[in-house]
Amino acid sequence: MEKSDNLVQIDHVTFGYDRRRAVLTDMSMRFPRGSVVAIMGSSGCGKTTLLRLIGGVVRPQSGTILFDREPVDPSDIEHLFALRRRLGMLFQFGALFTDLTVFENVAFPLREHTDLPESMIRDIVLMKLNAVGLRGAAALRIAEVSGGMARRIALGRAIALDPELIMYDEPFAGLDPISLGVTANLIRRLNDATGATSIVVSHDVDECFHICDYAYLISSGRIAGEGTAQQLRASDDPEVRQFILGEPDGPVHFHYPAQPLDQELGLTR
């Protein structure tokens, strides 16, 4: 079978955790092989939900999601787990196993999914930790590492099996400027070095634009804008401009819907 140009394809997907309210409506997206694609949007717009849909954690109410031309089917556990062995995910706060050391965290997927001897696992783990600049921290316990280090350890674990797809859930959240730059740089370098495809979910416009090849902007459960960093910066769509420029009010209102203030305070009838 010929490999598709798009490693992941989302076609007309609608999803809601509650049947009465859709979080995502008629979404269609393409993630070409070897590229870094950013999914941006304000908090609660459904960015992480998209990652959960691609990973088969939840099933869309309508539409299809294809991974390398194969549909993602949460009900077929064997097929789903085979798909997940081809992807790596970096959770927002790392989701490291706190009862294991740094080394054991990165070795975890290798020990679970391969029959490699411990000597070879050791070499691979040290190389992965070296790629994220933490080979010297291999013996540390998770409680002893900082937030930025935890993010990098989680990245090392996510690439342990050399996945075809790497998904990043808010990789820049809560990082200091140095860690931010290091993380962004790592995402781009690892993607290019391994030939993987990366999906970066974030609301950090500058860092995303610095490393991504393409970006989608989600708002109110639909795609408000898409394109390269230059195209999005040049867009005159009000929602895109409000997000890119960080304006406090616009199509996305500052105030949560409520009755007028003077009415609520009893100043007018």
């Binding site: 789903l80 085979a82 997940r84 790596g88 989701a95 490291l96 679970e112």
Partner: protein, 263 residues
């Protein structure tokens, strides 16, 4: 509240209860279904047996000694009135093997190991560790839950046996060394009166049933807890309460079946 609203409230509450019981039953089925896979990686269960069993030894030994000593004292005061003080050993052994050993061990287990399991699973869930495992194509039910389930079932009978043994030893110290009951009478009455199948065997069956129930409740409460500090706190409290009540009810049912006076 109007009668209609009361009826609605009762109905809604009942439906939620039935839904919870169904959910728990499905969870139990999944635990049992993943147990063979966990047995194939017995090293995971061994690590949990240490965490649940070995680390509970201190409280089990101390409690067993205290309970055995108190039983001996109370039994002596009661039996001496009828000139049957030499039966203290038999009374203590039967009480411990049939009832107090399994039940008190299960209650202590719920308080120490059960809350630990609930908090651990709840915090793993809150920290997305279980979700991370799923995304790495590792089933947390086989890797995390089932080994702890097996460990609970294995640990409980062993802890109960230790509880009973320490209790009998403490009773010997009180009855023979302190009070002065004849040592030979103490042991011979016990040997004659304790039946290995009816008393020891039934006690063993109870501990296995209590182990299954307590461990299941602890794992379920942790897995279903809300991912907040309050949620985990509520879940650990719930583990102790629900485990304790479940053990006591099961004890009543099992005792009725096992030790019926009818031929």
């Amino acid at each position: 509240m109007s009668p209609v609203n009361l009826l609605l409230a009762v109905g809604a509450r009942s439906l939620r209860l039935v839904e919870s019981l169904g959910h728990a039953a499905v969870f139990f089925r999944e635990l049992v279904r993943h147990t063979p896979a966990a047995l194939r990686r017995f090293d995971l269960s061994v690590a949990q047996i240490y965490a649940i069993g070995n680390l509970s030894l201190v409280i089990i030994i101390m409690s067993g000694a205290a309970v055995g000593g108190v039983l001996a004292l109370q039994a002596y005061y009661a039996l001496d009135r009828y000139g049957a003080a030499e039966s203290v050993g038999l009374l203590v052994a039967l009480s411990l093997l049939r009832e107090l050993g399994p039940v008190l061990t299960a209650l202590l287990f719920a308080g120490r190991a059960g809350t630990s399991l609930t908090a651990e699973i709840g915090l793993m869930k809150a920290g997305e560790q279980l979700a991370a495992m799923e995304m790495m194509a590792v089933d947390p039910r086989s890797r995390v839950l089932a080994p702890r389930f097996i460990a609970g079932i294995v640990s409980m009978p062993l802890l109960s046996a230790i509880f009973s043994a320490v209790g009998v030893t403490a009773a010997y110290a009180i009855a023979v060394k302190l009070i002065g009951i004849d040592s030979a009478a103490f042991w011979s009455q016990m040997q004659d009166g304790v039946d290995v199948f009816k008393d020891v065997g039934n006690g063993l069956v109870k501990t296995i049933v209590f182990g299954i129930a307590s461990t299941f409740v602890a794992l379920y409460m942790g897995y279903e807890s809300e991912a907040t500090p309050e949620g985990v706190a509520q879940a650990t409290t719930g583990t102790v309460v629900i485990s304790s009540v479940t053990v006591l009810i099961l004890d009543f049912l099992l005792t009725s079946l096992m030790f019926s006076t009818r031929p």
